[in-house]
Amino acid sequence: MFPETPELSVSIPAKTELLKMLVELTSYIAVRNFFSVSESRKIALAVDEAITNVIKHSYKESTDSEIKLDFFCSNEGIKIKIEFSGIPPELSETMVNLEKMIKAKKKGGLGVALIKRIMDSVKYSTIENTNYLEMIKWKKSS
């Protein structure tokens, strides 16, 4: 289980130029929480993909919007809760057929699949026009 209070909360404007900072921050928090460097990088990639989706699809690249991230850490794993408004995300893609996507000349569509492959649990909810995306990665031993 995770504590009720996040270890860290950050609010950022919806700008892609901040993605690298978020990747570095997430990776740092995961390593500090005893995930391997390789796993930490993947968790950070999942955050990158989730925030990119929010910026591109929910906020349609309107940079005056805000995104809040809460990081919860415990001995069992890490939970990242992302809070945003705008258009609710589409999280249906789990499996991707690369050959079909290549034939269709698609440049997008890998992000959600990556998130679902990396994280153990991905849940989305909307409460009073605010969207919440909650992602959990458990430690291998738990």
């Binding site: 990639l45 990119t52 992000g111």
Partner: protein, 117 residues
Amino acid sequence: MRNFLIKSKTIENVGILYPTGHLDAHSVEKFENEMIKMLDDNIVKIVVNCNELNYISSAGMGIIMGYLDEIREKGGDIKLSNVVDRVYEIFDLVGFTEIYEFVDSEEKAIEKFNNVS
């Protein structure tokens, strides 16, 4: 400091892209523009030398994926070379390692292109 740079050159009709640094949704436009420039110059045998690439998200992989069909229709292909472990892991997560040819060196990639033609 810039987070991402892209350089390119052509050797024996093979175009080589050198993405350097952090390739994400913010920097992807530079990568796509360089890919489009190659296609505009009718270069369809493309090597992406990832030696200096230390991060790629789905935005960057989308460019490698989105132009492949057009490139193959024109008789070309995309090969990836010198991919560092941390980036290879990401390519592997989405199955790129089954679709694209990964080679150890740029020279080997060029040689493979030249042997086919």
